[in-house]
């Protein structure tokens, strides 16, 4: 793991700067100035020449290589600009960054191959008979696996190219940008279905007050994990995945390597859940569609994984309902239940991290009994501030622009553009995690214990309690009728 040198700036602060710069530049769309529209990300493809498109129609004339090149130049510049505050050897960083960008981008592209990514409801659209239905999120897994292969089988090469492998910096920057995405979603969701909100709020209580504590207790009491391991593990297993593991790990000052190992497990298990739960929901909950949607939000750990599962469940359940009862539900309501639940959970990450930071600095790691504001401040994950700031600003702008159709559309475009970078930073996070983590020995000797607590907690009670809660709050609520 590359450690940031001692500086008054931390990775936390760098991620705030980077995330805010991206969102700030995208928001120029409000004034019809499109700074970031050339950014590009892969779409699901069967013909690789049509896999990419620029984020904004204003730049549709650009060829794919130019769009990718501009995306690279922009991200390399912005990371170089801020990384200089803590790391003077820019040349090594840039060489490494270039490799990580190319490898991550390739995995991202590969993960969007229709036979891998297309969900069942889209098979006809892509004119293919079957698909693994992993959604584009499969690119993250490819990136992780590719990084692990390099790290484990080409360790000398991995050492040479891991200077810029900074998963925390990438993911925290992505989370700050995610504040904008969630703000737009919030405004839209609130308008569409305010009745779902109170049920989503319940998910917070389940996720953190009940799940976290139970997993923490299991990890500490029955598996003998230290506090440093148990805190991010409980956050990662219980509901909020990678970002929660990072936020709570930072709050109790877990070492980055501990958080990375937990995060890697979260990703792997989220994929297993994505493959399993939507089909279980289709089989047993086709008559309670919003229960199924909320369950995905409560049970599947990563944001991407949960919302993808919600979308798959949406398609599967609507098809099943049509087959069984001849009734067609409107599309998107099940996914909306998932994303609303997930959104509330995400919003609670910072609050829980703050509570843990307070308890740890006053009661557990306390060097003296009195706690100063500085103690809490030092432990508080700063990127959460960036996330909240971006969320509030974009939400306020969006809410004030709702009567202005052009402005609303421009804001959605801004969100689309900044979201390209969020996705890119996510995939670079996964590749970086793989690149700096040598699991070979851990799998042989130690990871079993980590996996055991994860399996026991997740499949032992979290999924089932989540299902019970989803049923308590969402049963009997049906989506409106629509077209399949």
């Amino acid at each position: 793991m590359n450690e940031i040198k001692k500086s008054k700036w931390s990775e936390d602060w760098l991620s705030v700067f980077i995330g805010i710069v991206v969102v700030f530049l995208s928001l120029f769309n409000i004034f019809n100035i499109d700074f970031l529209g050339w950014a590009t990300e892969p779409d699901i493809w069967t013909d690789y020449t049509k896999a990419f498109h620029s984020a904004s129609p204003n730049y549709s004339y650009l060829s794919t290589p130019i769009s990718i090149l501009l995306t690279y130049i922009f991200t390399a510049s912005i990371f170089s600009l801020f990384i200089r505050l803590v790391q003077p050897d820019l040349k090594k960083f840039l060489i490494s960054y270039t490799f990580i960008f190319i490898a991550s981008y390739f995995c991202w592209f590969l993960g969007h191959y229709a036979y891998i990514a297309a969900t069942k409801d889209k098979l006809a659209t892509y004119n293919i008979p079957w698909s693994l239905s992993l959604t584009g999120e499969a690119g993250y897994i490819f990136a992780l696996v590719f990084g692990l292969i390099i790290s484990n089988f080409l360790p000398k090469f991995a050492d040479k190219v891991k200077e810029a492998a900074k998963p925390e910096l990438f993911i925290k920057s992505a989370i700050v940008i995610m504040g904008a995405t969630l703000a737009v979603k919030s405004a839209e969701s609130f308008q569409l279905a305010s009745i779902v909100i109170i049920r989503g709020a319940a998910a917070i209580l389940v996720a953190y007050l009940i799940f976290w504590s139970l997993v923490y207790w299991v990890a500490r009491r029955y598996f003998g994990f230290s506090r440093e391991w148990a805190v991010p593990l409980a956050a990662g297993v219980s509901i909020c995945g990678v970002s929660a593991a990072i936020a709570t790990g930072a709050a109790v000052r877990s070492r980055p390597t501990v958080v990375i190992m937990v995060s890697s497990l979260v990703v792997i298990f989220a994929v297993i859940e994505m493959l399993l739960l939507p089909f279980l929901a289709q089989q047993f909950m086709w008559n309670e569609p919003l229960v199924a949607g909320a369950w995905m939000g409560l049970a599947v750990k990563t944001d991407g994984g949960a919302i993808s599962s919600g979308a798959i469940t949406d398609a599967l359940i609507r098809a099943k309902k049509l087959e069984m009862d001849g009734v067609t539900y409107a599309e998107g309501w099940i996914t909306m239940a998932t994303s609303t639940v997930k959104m509330f959970i995400d919003m609670f990450i910072g609050i829980w991290a703050l509570i843990l930071a307070y308890i740890w600095s006053t009661k557990i790691d306390a060097t003296n009994k009195k706690m100063s504001f500085n103690d809490v401040w030092q432990r508080f994950p700063k990127f959460v501030l960036g996330y909240i700031l971006v969320f509030l600003i974009v939400l306020l702008i969006f809410l004030s622009s709702q009567t202005d159709g052009v402005l609303s559309n421009n804001l959605r475009l801004a969100n689309t553009e900044s979201n390209v970078f969020r996705g890119l930073f996510f995939v670079m996070t996964f590749f970086s995690i793989g690149l700096i983590t040598n699991f070979k020995k851990l799998v042989d000797e130690g990871l079993t214990k980590l996996i055991m607590v994860y399996v026991v907690s997740l499949f032992g009670f979290i999924i089932w309690i989540g299902l019970a809660i989803a049923w308590l709050f969402f049963n009997g609520i049906k989506p409106p009728m629509g077209n399949l």
């Binding site: 793991m1 009745i195 109170i198 049920r199 709020a201 319940a202 209580l205 389940v206 953190y208 007050l209 009940i210 976290w212 504590s213 139970l214 923490y216 207790w217 500490r220 009491r221 003998g224 994990f225 230290s226 506090r227 391991w229 390597t257 501990v258 190992m261 308890i359 009661k363 557990i364 700096i436 983590t437 040598n438 020995k441 851990l442 000797e445 130690g446 990871l447 214990k449 980590l450 809660i469 308590l472 709050f473 009997g476």
Partner: protein, 54 residues
């Protein structure tokens, strides 16, 4: 990750002895679960009332 750091992590993972559970941790877990169940009950009642009214 340096090799000695990896070794330390492995030792930690496989360690059978760990730092003892402090009373504050027990309180945190008990309080958190209790509060969660209480809020769950309150929200369920509110939810029920809202549903009945709507």
């Amino acid at each position: 990750m340096k090799s000695d750091e990896k070794e330390n992590l492995l030792k930690e993972l496989n360690s059978t002895t760990t730092d003892p559970i402090l009373p504050i941790e027990k309180k945190l877990v008990a309080f958190s679960v209790g509060l969660g169940l209480l809020f769950l009950f309150i929200f369920y009642i509110l939810n029920y009332v809202i549903l009945k009214q709507s």
